[in-house]
Symmetry: C2
Subunit: 518 residues, 2 copies
């Protein structure tokens, strides 16, 4: 069903089914695809809801987020089961992802209640200032307007219908129109109905939330170019993200697009760490690269280290850990095909050797077989395709002949979500020298750990320079994600009767404020 | 002279002169235009300076800003005199603008010393958390990289070489390459040399600041597309701004452009205010629209009110105030020609009547004659050109036949820097009903005042929806302007030896921090 405001109806632009990636079988029921008229209706309702929703009491908005979280918990088992058949994600992981999703919603509820996100600043009038009096100026952040959210395939809960983008936008006071991902339509509808019911329960305008299915080229572009949509959140492929960025920039009035697109999450193993614990690092690499069949935005796809005996220890240990890893279903047949192509590209590239492969399982319809390759900096220089993202459990060890070469490899990398450094005590000077470069390459720097596992907190940055994202100034995970959907407005000499909530002298909302910069 | 790092030399791509807009005469000396090789050299030096400059102690960075302010004060008389001959801005206004410029620099010095702009957040490790321990995550904001600043013509000090964009970027830790405006090259060089000397005095890398002259199409685009430039600040025309936005978006790695472009700063006069003090508002309008010959970004170019006898009182009083206003030199012959064209377009438009004109002065080479027109909503609907910005002292009164029409006029406006409302007690309900719409249209809302006069403070928003600016999420005036040049980076499990300044357990920098969101 398409969920457009309070309505639920079947789209009339063709039908599609979810596919069980374990068996390749179509899953009932059939879903109807929406068209541009559904986009227009959702955008119209969102626009109609905007002025009311953005001025709802903070407590109402927070309660909406809590109610969504509670509703997801209530049908948790049903959700986890449907996630399983639609994506092949095992119940334990789906349960964890559901917990992450509800935690995220409740965390944003607390952000709304706190009120600091309103960014209130008050510069009181100075009537006696010379040569000119200073007027009274008060500022707050207001939501940009209705937000389009493009759900991701790889986190059918945490980056989907009621995921981080939706939670952040609703918290900011922005109505949301979700373009659901066609790989998990049943999960999307279960979650979407929970949101729809929560909107109704709190007596909010129906347009606060809509969700539809549709083709990226038609429905997706219609959504991004609808004049009532004022910002876009997206998690997905580089080509998909860039298409939305271009469409948004070509609007008569351009809007921001927050697209999280592509990252190979390089892991640097510095000489001391390589020498002291190469085998341990090799085992850790396999653990990280195979989480979720490598289908995480932060999966480590590139290991950079110095040539020498330590690399063999690392590779041997990684190979030993990788070989018994069972094949597992990938998220969808399409993703499995792209993975197979990407792995083939690496296997056939000159100067790239196979370190090890995981188990194969021909019984799986869309099974993924983990794989680790090795090459040298010289090969990397000759073949830039080697550093293109292969979405899935594939990683490539690159050896540099010297510290200078190691620097060069990092320097030539594109922007990343994360970069990881394994460094022991004797590596600290080198790590310190690398740090400024790493800061320019990534949104998050991890030392002696692994990039997979993204904490939902206040200090998290899940973002990074292009092409990791289309806007390095933001994060799509954690409480700072709310800032993406806000803009400042200053109010000069407004009489008390007109001042928006939070800006009055008495601060009746009790929100944190900065007065004269303090 | 071009000031490229520590060097000063004459550009070799043709020469140009400033022109005294009062006499039309060329002013000595001749200036040399730079070319793409000068852009490349400045960008190279800026890139080389970046990693050092961004990690200078906050006190050093603040002292740099203070030293620039002191240096400008020291040669204040010389600067004011040169501003006068190059732009026709009278000494009193130039002196005020200089004071605003040095205030701005010193204010950003205080922002740097305070350290809150670093946006430090610490989420400490929770080793005992179940099911998984939480890693230690700390975040700060780092500068985007070298910033290109395009100086404006209308504020030869406050929005020019050491103006708001430069002060904010230097405060953020970003080296700056200024493309100076060719209408005030002597002023630019005086100011640029002060900045250059301050960089040297504090022993900072020479690339922290460069300044060059050059054509927008060649040098400007070369600057925006140089891979080492990571953000752009611009104040100027809509066509100029859009060209830079397009060039930045077409880079292999796109970068943010903060372009302040175009605003007609509508003034709404609500029925009660019109009835009670129409004449006073008419006089106030003339006062505001003629400040700086109307060559301010916030000059009120459109007055929206209800038809009726009050409008005549407003128009009569405005006319009486306008007629004796003497002609005055505009900033440059080019701006004067564009103003004459714009005024002609309004004068010749069907259904537009002339309310009054200021004095003419044929002796002035580039004199501007203030002018006020009147029309109706019906005419506005028929001719969208009527709401295009006319840069200079021109304003247009538009009458609506009803409150509904008044709403429609506002609804159909493009994005603005400011919107002003004149409202008396009986207008408060109407004003309240309009407020949500006004918030969507502008970055600053003024009640019972005038948009000209932009306070430099913490709560100021000098920004607004497209096409007022290319990025409504920001301000180019006030302390929040620093945010434009920063991006967040998270550090996960860094050993104490690697933690950047401000993130250590002891908070040795003493910067404000948010721990676990508090």
């Amino acid at each position: 069903m398409l969920l457009i405001g309070a309505a639920a109806y079947r789209g009339t632009h063709g039908e599609f089914f979810a596919i069980d990636p374990r068996t390749g079988e179509k899953l009932e029921p059939a879903y109807g695809l929406g068209g541009v008229e559904d986009v227009a209706r959702a955008a119209e309702l969102a626009e109609a809801a905007f002025d009311v929703y953005r001025e709802t009491p903070l407590e109402t908005r927070a309660a909406l987020l809590d109610t969504i979280a509670d509703g997801l918990d209530e049908i948790g088992e049903q959700i986890v089961a449907r996630v399983g058949v639609e994506t092949g994600i095992p119940a334990a992981r789906a349960t964890g992802e559901l917990a992450r999703t509800t935690y995220q919603l409740r965390l944003f509820a607390s952000v709304v209640r706190d009120g600091d996100f309103l960014g209130v600043r008050v510069d009181p009038a100075l009537p006696d200032r010379a040569p000119l009096p200073r007027p009274d100026i008060r500022r707050r952040l207001v939501p940009l307007g209705p937000v389009a959210v493009f759900a991701a395939s790889n986190f059918p809960l945490a980056f989907s219908v009621a995921g981080g983008d939706t939670a952040a936008a609703l918290a900011a006071g922005a109505p949301v129109v979700v373009k659901a991902h066609s790989s998990h339509p049943g999960t999307s509808e279960l979650v979407g109905r929970v949101v729809q019911a929560a909107v109704a329960k709190h007596g909010l305008p129906e347009g606060v939330f809509s969700m539809l299915f549709g083709s990226g080229r038609e429905v997706g572009i219609a959504l991004v170019t609808d004049p009532r949509i004022r910002a876009v959140g997206f998690t997905g492929s580089r080509s998909g993200g860039l298409a939305l960025v271009a469409a948004a920039a070509a609007r008569p009035e351009p809007i921001p697009v927050y697209a999280e697109m592509s990252s190979i999450n390089p892991v640097l193993v510095l000489p001391g760490a390589l020498r002291n614990r190469g085998a341990e690092i090799g085992r850790g690499l396999v653990g990280s690269m195979t989480v979720g069949q490598g289908q995480l935005c932060t999966s480590p796809g590139l290991v950079i280290t110095l040539d020498g005996p330590g690399v063999d220890a690392l590779g041997d240990a990684a190979g030993a850990a990788l070989r018994p890893v069972p094949a597992a279903p990938m998220l969808s047949p399409g993703i499995q095909r792209a993975f197979t192509d990407g792995v083939g590209r690496l296997r056939d590239a000159p100067g790239v050797t196979l370190v090890a492969q995981g188990q194969d399982d021909p019984a799986l319809a869309a099974g993924g077989r983990a794989v680790l390759f090795r090459t040298t900096k010289a090969q990397l220089d000759a073949n830039p395709l080697l550093t293109e993202e292969v979405f899935g459990a594939s990683s490539l060890i690159v050896t540099a002949a010297s510290v200078a070469e190691l620097h060069e490899i990092v320097r030539d990398l594109e922007g990343q979500l994360t970069v990881t450094v394994h460094a022991d005590a004797e590596d600290l000077d080198l790590a310190r020298a690398l740090l400024p470069l790493l800061e320019r390459k990534a949104g998050r720097i991890i030392v002696n750990g692994w990039p997979t596992g993204v904490e939902v907190g206040h200090a998290m940055v899940h973002g990074g320079p292009f092409p990791a994202t289309s806007d390095a100034r933001t994060t799509s995970v954690g409480t700072a994600a709310i800032e993406r959907f806000l803009r400042p407005v200053a109010y000069q000499n407004l009489p008390a009767e007109l001042l928006p909530a939070g800006l009055d002298d008495a601060n009746t909302l009790g929100v944190p404020r900065r007065t004269d910069g303090r």
